[in-house]
Amino acid sequence: MVSRGVFYVVTAILFVVGILFIGYQHVTFEIPFTPGQMRKVWTVEAKVEFEPTGSGAATVDLSLPAVQPGVTQLKQSTAGLGFGTTYIYHDDGASYVQWTKRNPAGLQTLYYRADFLMDDTAQDSSMTVPELKQNVEPEPYLTAMRSIAESALQRSSNPFSLAVQAISIINSNTEESTLLLSSYKKPELLVHILELAKIPSRIVGVLTLEDGRRNRNLSPRVAVFDGTQYEIFNPFTGDSGVGPNELIWNNHDGSILDIQGGTNAQVSFSIIKNSMSASEAGHLKVETMQASGKDVLSLSIDTLPIEEQSLFKSILLLPIGVLIVVFLRILIGIKTSGTFMPVLIAMAFLQTSLLVGLIGFVSIVCIGLIVRSWLSHLNLLLVARISAVIITVIVLIGAISIITYKIGLTEGIKVTFFPMIILSWTIERMSILWEEEGYREVLKQGGGSLFVAVCAFLAMNSEVIQHITFNFLGLQFVILALVLIMGNYTGFRLTELKRFKPLSQKIIEAHEQGVPYEADRLNAKRKELKANPHQTIKKWEEEHKLKEDPLNPQNESDK
């Protein structure tokens, strides 16, 4: 016999492991606890076109999208006819996809495609702090820039506010800004002004994500650094930060597109918005993390082939039904015909829908009972009789399917999902019950089974429960712990409270008439015994000798 202590420890461990496992999956895979949560996924396709110069090999370098907070890149792929592809990652954070071809001829088109998950938890960034360059612009521009830088410096307190001030001066149509803007673009100009103020900054390319857009280009922004902190500014409007639908593509000093052996190169982007269930997105994200060499333990049904997944979907629901049966039998005390028959019936209801299932179940069992009562007159051996019932059940199911289909009720076909062997045994058991205990017991147990089946169905049919059982394997441990705990319950069942009501009432009535509680008398004796075993036993033996025994053999013979 395992001691209670070990039992409780094991149960507690199971419970905690289950909860931790659920927590792990919730945090790492970002699986939500409620179903139906969707995540935004943007598919961005960069199209590169160029004309080869006609003399030999061509090499095309396209800058890869930056790693940035709020966005997780899920996957990437390239396409280019006859091109070799390599991904190049530099130490300074710059990364490229490189296409190479020996002898390109005619207009060449290359594609790079990537999926981006909008992900609030992503915090990484591949942005590096740029080197501070010396401003070597020619006069008179340098003086104009210096004057803007100085007035911005006066009106600001830190690099970011300085950048804001510089942008507002550039945009304010002063003499200096008009002069500068005649030969500089705004982003470039802002970087040069910031150089004079000894603030590192860099032009980055940002793609605005809008669903179904084609031929988009990157718009330039300026990243301004304060130590390792940075902020993105729009040099045209002075707005800071990256919008929720903006993606930083190019965050290093290199150009977006480099080409050798080609001319008239241009890159354009097209964008599609998708939505994806949160759990699917979570798994894709973990896959990406694993692909990039991070060690993430993946214990999920999602890694199985689709066919096995759907099988598991129903298998993993079974413990929920089992839990309900355990609860209803141990704590409530509902009688069912066959321990887990109701769960299997409930599984069939999941396929058929409740109403059709109930009608199908009741009609099959009723007709089966009629056939079975006729079979019992034939005095068959058990195995043959059960077999006959099985065949009858199959014929019934076939008949119901065909008839309902013919009259246009396609729902009826689903009765084929009923577990036929289980149904046959149910019919057999109920028939014996009917013969032995009468129809009342049949109605009681049949009704009990149906009630449990409907409860189990309602639980297993709930989308939330389906979602949780499928996505959190840890739940199985929690259910196991609950079942173990309930298996240890020694209290009364609800039905027993009703059953023993007359008994408790009679004991109370007898007590009111002066009969002492037997329980009190015996408990007092037990306490006496426990306090002093040897003396008590001796005392009782003495008392025994003194007592007159009405059953003495001599007395008995006198009667």
């Binding site: 016999m1 141990i330 005390g333 005095n379 051996l381 058990l382 195995v383 059960i386 057999e428 014996i432 032995e436 205990e437 298996g487 240890n488 319950y489 020694t490 209290g491 009364f492 069942r493 609800l494 027993e496 409270l497 009703k498 059953r499 023993f500 009501k501 007359p502 008994l503 408790s504 009432q505 009679k506 004991i507 109370i508 007898a510 509680y517 037997e518 329980a519 008398r521 015996l522 408990n523 004796k525 037990r526 015994l529 426990k530 075993p533 036993i537 009782w540 008392e543 025994h544 007592k547 007159e548 025994d549 009405p550 059953l551 053999p553 008995e556």
Partner: protein, 323 residues
């Protein structure tokens, strides 16, 4: 709401009175004191009988067994000249499949109810037993043919058809609680309380009736014979308790229900053992089982006590009437 609640007993009261529930029985008594491997000894009446014979415990005489379908035709040989006999499934439960023949007229066998059945019907009954119709889970079974019990005339009028038997709960070899089960017309001659048999609680000290219930309701007279149930007194009470207590030594099961019948000529006989005795005995006795069981559990020298000491202990402490 209050009306609905009043149909349920207060669980605190039940705990105070020491009334045992199904879960309590299964976990703390059956699960703890009955070893699984010993179950076949009580679930199979043939094994129980063999064990009882080996331990010199009185049981109804076994005329023969039928183990295979082709032996069914031999049953006439087995019963020989016996005018009365009883056919039972070895693994039947709840009194299912018991056929009692009280006399024979030419080729007809007369059942206890007075109905006559022929040779063919008896064979069909035997076939049903062998096929497992009456056994738990429909397992193939063996049919036992025993001599019929002639119940003690003191029970005349206390039982309708069937044999009145005495159920004694035995815990660790101590008789704990006892009741008589009297069949009624409503229970169709069967001794199961939930089928409508009358349960009569028996005082452990004297063997006298304490209280009688049918369907949970207290009654005073037998519903079919109108006999005063409170005049019932089990004869040979000491022997009954001794027989019950010795079943622990014989079977090794810590918590059992022993079913004992009183034969007119042969005295108390063990009919069968039950490793999962029911809880209705508490209603019949107007007392909970737990205080009695716990007193035994607290007894440090219980393993070393002899059968007669255990019976004496039970009678001293669990009696309701003093004399």
């Amino acid at each position: 709401m209050f009306k609905l609640l009043s149909r349920y007993a207060n669980p605190l009261d039940l705990m105070h009175f020491g009334i045992m529930g199904m879960n309590q029985r299964n976990v703390n008594y059956i699960g703890r004191y009955n070893k699984r491997k010993l179950y076949p000894l009580v679930d199979n009446k043939l094994k129980t009988k063999e064990m009882a014979i080996a331990h010199h415990v009185t049981t109804p005489k076994l005329l023969g067994t039928i183990k295979n379908q082709h032996d069914v035709t031999n049953f006439l040989k087995i019963i020989g000249d016996n005018q009365e006999f009883c056919i039972k499934p070895a693994q039947g439960s709840g009194g299912k499949g018991i056929l009692a023949i009280t006399s024979r007229q030419d080729t007809l066998f007369i059942k206890a109810s007075g109905q006559g059945i022929n040779n063919h019907d008896v064979r069909r009954h035997l076939s049903n037993i062998l096929a497992g119709l009456f056994s738990l889970g429909g397992k193939p079974d063996i049919a036992l043919i025993e001599s019929l019990i002639h119940f003690d005339p003191v029970f005349d009028g206390y039982s309708y058809e069937g044999v009145p038997d005495t159920r004694v709960i035995v815990f660790q070899g101590f008789p704990i609680m006892a009741m008589m089960r009297l069949s009624t017309a409503a229970s169709d001659g069967k001794a199961n309380l939930h089928q409508g048999a009358v349960g009569v609680g028996i005082c452990m000290r004297t063997g006298k009736a304490v209280r009688a219930v049918q369907h949970n309701d207290p009654i005073k007279f037998h519903p079919d014979t109108d006999k005063n149930l409170f005049e019932l007194k089990v004869p040979h009470w000491l022997e009954v308790l001794t027989l019950a207590a010795s079943c622990y030594n014989m079977s090794g099961l810590g918590y059992i229900g022993t079913d004992i019948v009183l034969d007119r000529d042969l005295g108390p006989m063990l009919l069968e053992l039950n490793a999962r005795p029911g809880l209705a005995i508490q209603t019949a006795n107007n007392a909970g089982l737990l205080p009695r069981l716990r007193l035994i559990e607290a007894l440090p020298n219980r393993q070393s006590m002899s059968v007669s000491e255990r019976v004496a202990f039970a009678r001293d402490h669990f009696g309701v009437f003093e004399s």
